[in-house]
Amino acid sequence: MNTLYVRRQLVNALVMTASLAATAFGLGWLLWIMATTLIQGASALDLKLFTQMTPAPGERGGLLNAFYGSFVMTLIALVIGTPLGVLAGTFLAEFQRKTRMGAVIRFTNDILLSAPSIVIGLFVYELVVRQVGHFSGWAGGLALAIILLPVVVRTTDEMLQLVPGGMREAALSLGLPKWKVSVKVLQRAASTGILTGVLLGLARISGETAPLLFTALNNQYWSATPNGPMANVPVVIFQYAMSPYDDWHAYAWAGAFVMAMFVLLLAVLSRAVLGRAKKHRP
């Protein structure tokens, strides 16, 4: 009896130690990766990064055209993906709460949410690039919009369902039409939560590389409009990092550093916003 007790306590201590070790293991990677990006990126960082174009091997330059391209394509994605996602999420939360169709769309949306982004890239390649005949920033923005869409759909759906039913009933009891109840009362009540979804989605598409490889491609030069191939940070990092040139590697690290900081900032920001949303829920 006594030895059994000791053994059980020993096993327990062992497992608890292992769980501590697992946590240290997980955090260790985060520290290692962040430290590398920070050190390598910070040493390659200078102001020219934001004022000059991507250089040829051996030359000096910056990533201005890549930053600009990423900005434009992210903007396209936000402009397309956010309204569609909010509308679709509203449909699910307000009209399809417990229906079979609602379940099917939610299921599909969840699949799309975790679907490999490279597949989305191939889809947009087939849909746009092959039809139009050339790569373009528009195609890249569309691919990012498709990745953003399910994130916004899901958060909008969930956040609208969290709005107290009494608020919906009260608004309808004032004789307001359903669309006005949804847009002016419920979406407004859920707006902080929906914003979190958009921020999370933004964080996700800011680092996406795979879907841009065969939609926006890349462009060594300045392109003001998204009508043709367009430079963007992730693909530039990919090409520079895979190259044999050390100075290109440095630019890749600088780009990765800026991108990682931006994405982590968004991740932290969206959590803060979400925390506030939960606290201020009526």
């Binding site: 059980r8 096993v11 327990n12 497992v15 608890m16 292992a18 769980s19 501590l20 697992a22 946590t23 997980g26 955090l27 985060l30 290692w32 590398t36 390598q40 569609l84 509308l87 679709a88 449909f91 699910l92 099917v104 769309i105 299921f107 599909t108 699949i111 799309l112 975790s114 679907a115 490999p116 982004s117 490279i118 597949v119 889809f123 087939e126 092959r130 869409l149 399910p150 759909v153 039409p177 359903k178 669309w179 949804s182 680092g207 996406e208 590389t209 795979a210 490889l213 065969f214 491609l217 992730p234 990919f238 990092a241 590697h249 991108m259 990682a260 994405v263 982590l264 991740a267 932290v268």
Partner: protein
């Protein structure tokens, strides 16, 4: 209580009801509502259309490869751009093997972190550690890839792989998996990086199901003198088996489709090798590496066909994951 005379007096004194000037609208409320339903519904059905459209467009784009090579596309290991001979076996093999390595590493680690976050850590530590683990999922995959190529691959080549080759490479049965030169690239390295990337996803579900276990169950087990681990092993895990399996499938689905992180460290080799130390390939890596170089219709079609296979593979895994996770969520909400 008020008597009737009072009431009528009050009513008589009240001002006459206001005459309303109703607003005139171009759209009646009823029409506007119908429009709203159509608009939101259209957006929601778009989600369905995108998913089906993605599947169809890749099946269409890959039809040339499927028609040309038939079943040998799945059984042959040949990948020769010059001879226009392509097949899926090596990338499919690499995709599955790297993902399985990732699962084998990530599941116990996530279980450990889940236990730490719910049972072991003092309350003030849970939030920051939990957030830090979640941040692993926020790091862009291309950063994993770069870090993998420039930092982790040399580390593997210098410290891990020589030891594995010396000690495991000589063993019977599993030996062939650990043979070769310690060059750092390959499926083992890719699998480890994938493991790091999917840890936050599996951990999140583990943590949620641990927290969702009815505390009555846990407390009565503790009252009987069970240790923490015994409570987890005998109460929490059996109680949430579906969710845990669902989480593993979700992680697997992520790993199967991950592109940039593995593209950097796999080595883009198309020869079939048993060893996890040799350069290999995966579906996503092959597409990412070669798509813009594909100079013939059959080459391009073969890559899109690979994409179709990846889509089907991840769809099945993710669908299973969602079904398992949904079933538990429903059971949990009813409890």
């Amino acid at each position: 209580m008020g008597d009737l005379i009072d009431i009528s007096a009050a009513a008589a004194a009240s001002p006459p009801r206001r005459v309303r000037t109703p607003r005139t609208r171009r759209l009646s409320d009823r029409t506007a509502d119908r429009l709203f339903l159509g608009l939101t519904g259209g957006a929601a059905y778009l989600v369905l259309i995108v998913l089906v459209g993605a599947a169809l467009s890749m099946a269409w784009g890959g039809r040339l490869a499927f028609k040309t090579f038939g079943w040998s596309f799945f059984t042959s290991t040949q990948w020769d751009a010059v001879a226009h001979q392509f097949s899926a076996l090596v990338p499919v093999w690499g995709t599955i093997v790297t993902s399985l390595i990732a699962i084998v590493i990530a599941v116990p680690v996530s279980l450990g972190i889940g236990i730490f976050l719910t049972e072991l850590a003092p309350p003030w530590l849970r939030q920051p550690v939990g957030t830090a683990i979640e941040l692993l999922a926020a790091i862009p995959s291309i950063v994993y890839g770069m870090w993998g190529l420039f930092v982790f691959v040399p580390f593997m080549a210098a410290h891990i792989q020589p030891w594995l080759i010396d000690h495991l490479g000589t063993m019977p049965v599993i030996g062939p998996l650990f043979e070769g030169a310690p060059i750092g690239l390959g499926m083992l390295t890719a699998g480890i990086i994938l493991a790091i990337m999917i840890i936050p996803f599996i951990t999140a579900v583990m943590r949620d199901v641990f927290l969702a276990t009815p505390s009555v169950l846990k407390e009565s087990a503790y009252a009987l003198g069970a240790t923490r681990w015994e409570v987890i092993k005998d109460i929490v895990l059996p109680n949430s088996r579906n969710a845990v399996v669902g989480a593993i499938f979700l992680g697997l689905g992520r790993a199967l489709g991950e592109t940039m992180a593995v593209t950097f460290v796999l080595g883009n080799a198309h020869e079939f090798k048993w060893s996890l130390m040799e350069p290999g390939n995966s579906i996503a890596a092959a597409i990412a590496n070669e798509f813009t170089e594909a100079d013939s219709d059959i080459y391009l079609s073969s890559l899109i066909a690979l994409g179709f296979i990846l889509f089907v593979l991840t769809f099945v895994i993710l669908a299973l994951a969602r079904l398992l996770l949904r079933a538990t969520r429903r059971a949990g909400s009813e409890a």
